[in-house]
């Protein structure tokens, strides 16, 4: 150790090189932002933008008072919406379970072929929103609840599959080792060593996804996949903003209740 001969006058907690890099990073971000902004707003008609507050006031005025008489007509579509979410979640979870077991590193039968396929299914399902799935399915099998249910199910595979396979990979290895040591078959190792460990995660994830699906299923009707969104679409098309207000309040109420239910159930499980 050499003796410290003098103290620096200026103290900084990063080296100059690091600070320079940070500034360059921020500068690059700002430049990128400005560039993107210019490209994005190329086609924007600013007259509409400046006009927006007046439009907002106009729409707001038409929404009030909400047409409460419309409410009874909404009960059936609401029931459909809840069914789309629930049946879709069940379908999605059923499909997600095998995918999750194929994707988890410790349960997949083949790391080189099946695991990448399972991971691709998960990414594909996750990156495509249920509304896009619904758009496609309505085109393929026609409008109606079935398209909505399948759309919700397809979107749920990725979400449930990803969280579930992470839970499978996080299981306690010693418990699995102990079951293996008894001479259990692969299926028995799965059912005694792994399934009990992931059960709480499984129920938690499913209920959580159900809650999200209630939200998503409210708008599937915009593309014709049934539920309360159909009414929303019809009211928007006829510019019946006072009906739109009722629908939005109903959706909000449903979402809040489903969130509460899901939180309660998850709390009870964990």
């Amino acid at each position: 150790m050499t003796e410290i001969s003098h103290y620096a006058q200026v103290w900084s907690h990063r080296t100059p090189r690091k600070r320079l890099l940070m500034w360059l990073g921020w500068l690059a971000l700002v430049a990128l932002f400005v560039w993107c902004w210019q490209i994005m707003t190329e086609t924007t008609i600013w007259m509409f933008v400046t006009d927006a507050p007046r439009q907002a006031a106009d729409i707001g005025g038409r929404m009030l008072p909400p047409r409460w008489g419309y409410l009874p007509e909404l009960m059936n579509p609401l029931w459909d919406t809840i069914n789309i979410a629930t049946l879709g979640t069940i379908g999605g979870v059923i499909m997600a379970v095998p995918v999750a077991f194929l994707a988890a590193r410790n349960t997949t039968p083949s790391v080189t072929i099946l695991r990448p396929i399972a991971l691709f299914i998960i990414v594909a399902s996750r990156s495509i929103n249920s509304l896009i799935w619904a758009l496609l399915l309505v085109a393929v099998i026609g409008p109606g609840l079935l398209a909505g249910i399948i759309a919700i199910a397809l979107r749920s595979i990725g979400f449930v599959g990803k969280l579930l396979y992470e839970a499978i990979e996080e299981t306690d290895k010693r418990q699995i080792e102990a079951i293996t040591a008894t001479g259990a078959s692969q299926a028995q190792i799965l059912s005694y060593g792994i399934v009990p460990q992931i059960m709480p995660a499984f129920w938690g994830i499913s209920v959580f996804r159900w809650d999200i699906n209630i939200r998503e299923s409210t708008i599937l009707g915009l593309v014709g996949a049934g539920g309360i969104g159909l009414k929303l679409n019809a009211s928007l098309a006829t510019l019946a903003w006072n009906q739109v207000a009722v629908i939005l309040l109903l959706i909000l109420g449903t979402v809040i209740i489903s969130e509460w239910v899901s939180a309660r159930v998850r709390h009870a499980i964990i």
């Binding site: 993107c36 099998i141 109606g144």
Partner: protein, 267 residues
Amino acid sequence: MSAVYPDTWRRPPQIIPNRRWRIAIQCGIVIYLILAIGTVEVNWARVYEGLERGQRFVMGFLQPDFSSRWKDISQGLVESLTMTLTSTVVGVAISVPIGIGAARNLVPRPIYMVCRSIIAVSRSLQEIIVAIFLVAMFGFGPFAGFLTLSFATIGFIAKLLADDIEEIDATQAEAIRATGASWLQLVDYAVKPQVMPRLIGLSLYRLDINFRESAVIGIVGAGGIGATLNTAIDRYEYDSAGAILLIIIAIVMVSEYGSSYLRKFLQ
């Protein structure tokens, strides 16, 4: 051995110990499922007809056509990407003050209530519904999409940021406060270092989500790749639609790997 042991054993019920309740709940589930499945009216003739289209779509997915609509696709893509970036930057910039304002341990109660209600409004309104309104107000195009995504980003980032700040190590904040620091200095020295890495991680995560959402809000007229996709499906051009979906999947994959790499690099 003298004792006689039973030779049957049944697993005791784990969740609902009461037998009556268990049966009631099981019956309830069955009845609900019957009723729910009953509401699904399937027009099998229509489904059968659709199978051919479904086949064409799967073929389109396997043999995507990038070239014939490339101009529309690239324009939609540029709109989506620019919309994603600008809305994330703006959304995060607005989220930071709101997030700090919604942290109970930093601000007086009235400010806390105001900020928390902004977050609640932003979180409870669906992107699509917000987009419908903003398109009605600002006209069609990416600007409405940009506003939608910025608005949604606020609810997401500000909530998680506020929860994070509320969980920071109180002793560190105490220590800084004890030096006689002002409120701003407190935020700078005690809060910023603890939540900064997480804020960067969340922003990258939100960037990812915003791109995915930008593909959806186009359906209601807010620009981006979603509008292109909507048109392609309306025209029954499934090979172009397949190409667009593959591009979306590829970008999401790249951004997921990229953001996890960036997060590792920045920490």
